[in-house]
Amino acid sequence: MFIKILILAFIVFALWRTFLKYKNSDITGREMSIWAVFWLLVGTAALAPKKTDIVAQWLGVERGADLLVYLSIMALFFLVFKIIVKLEKMDRDITKVVRKNALDEAQKD
């Protein structure tokens, strides 16, 4: 029971932070909706785990909790991939800036 309260409290916290980010225009309305739907789904799964079994069995997985783990791992891998690609690009951009500065400075003297 305690874990349910913990998860729900975290969901309320996450939704609140998401809303604040939206209010400060750090994220777009679309991003906020996606996160809101995600956290509400997690909430549903926490409150009524049996209900998620229906969806899971529909997809050929026995338990809803398992399905959730599978989906989470997929999402995490995708996220890590996106971050690596982004980091590589940022690294190259930093090099471009450093190079341009270096060449401009060297041309001066």
Partner: protein, 223 residues
């Protein structure tokens, strides 16, 4: 023909002066790229007579090489020779690398320590380099004997065509890949590599090989 030497240097205060002085009489201009060194590399290079281009932060040897090549091209270089700052190459051998370009036989000349009969490569180093060469051969399809040798020469067209995107040590394989892709005419030339405790300590280690493979793999993913 205007020959420029491009020397990427990171914390090479111990050797940079001798390297610049040895190169000075052999080429029209010595360009040292100080890749964000914390020591006196830039000042010493300048005092020895090199033109110094300074990266404000360390970006890696590949990035420094590309900066140096860009700068040399902007100064009207017709042949660009890349040279290591740790003093393991012999400046007199620049002629040997420039010759095939001057004769119109090649656009890129790659130095190879293994083409020299009397090379004194330590065995542990030899194994690492042989593995690197093998992997690079698989990766680029080019049959060269020494893939991670920093002593190279390019004519203007080759220097303008090759764009080094690998900031780190994987640029050795990347240069070969681009030579193949752009169908640049290349030859290998034997060069001497002098090993000292200093250059061995600064050179490639086995752990770096894995890093190079990882970098190449990543660049394929994120291209």
């Amino acid at each position: 023909m205007k020959i420029c030497a491009v020397v990427p240097a990171y914390n090479e205060a111990r050797t940079i002066r001798q390297v610049v002085e040895a190169l000075k009489d052999k080429v029209a201009e010595v360009i040292v790229i100080d890749d964000g060194s914390a020591d006196q590399t830039a000042e010493l290079a300048k005092a020895a007579g090199a033109k110094v281009v300074r990266h404000s932060i360390n970006r890696g040897q590949g990035a420094a090489l590309q900066t140096g090549i860009d700068f040399a091209l902007s100064r009207g270089a017709e042949i660009i020779v890349t040279f290591d700052a740790d003093g393991q190459f012999v400046a007199e051998e620049i002629n040997r690398l420039a010759l095939p370009i001057l004769r119109g036989e090649a656009q890129a000349v790659l130095g190879s320590r293994f083409l020299k009969k009397d090379n004194l490569t330590p065995w542990a180093k030899k194994i690492i380099l042989k593995i690197a060469t093998f992997i690079t051969r698989l990766y680029t399809g080019l049959n060269v004997s020494d893939t991670h040798n920093g002593f190279r020469a390019f004519d203007r067209t080759a220097a303008e065509t090759i764009k080094i995107r690998q900031a780190g040590m994987a640029h050795g394989s990347e240069i070969l890949e681009q030579i193949k892709k752009h169908k640049l005419k290349f030859v290998e030339a034997p060069v001497t590599v002098k090993y000292s405790d200093y250059s061995l300590q600064k050179g490639q280690k086995l752990s770096n090989s894995f890093r190079i493979i990882f970098d190449l793999f990543l660049s394929r993913l994120s291209r």
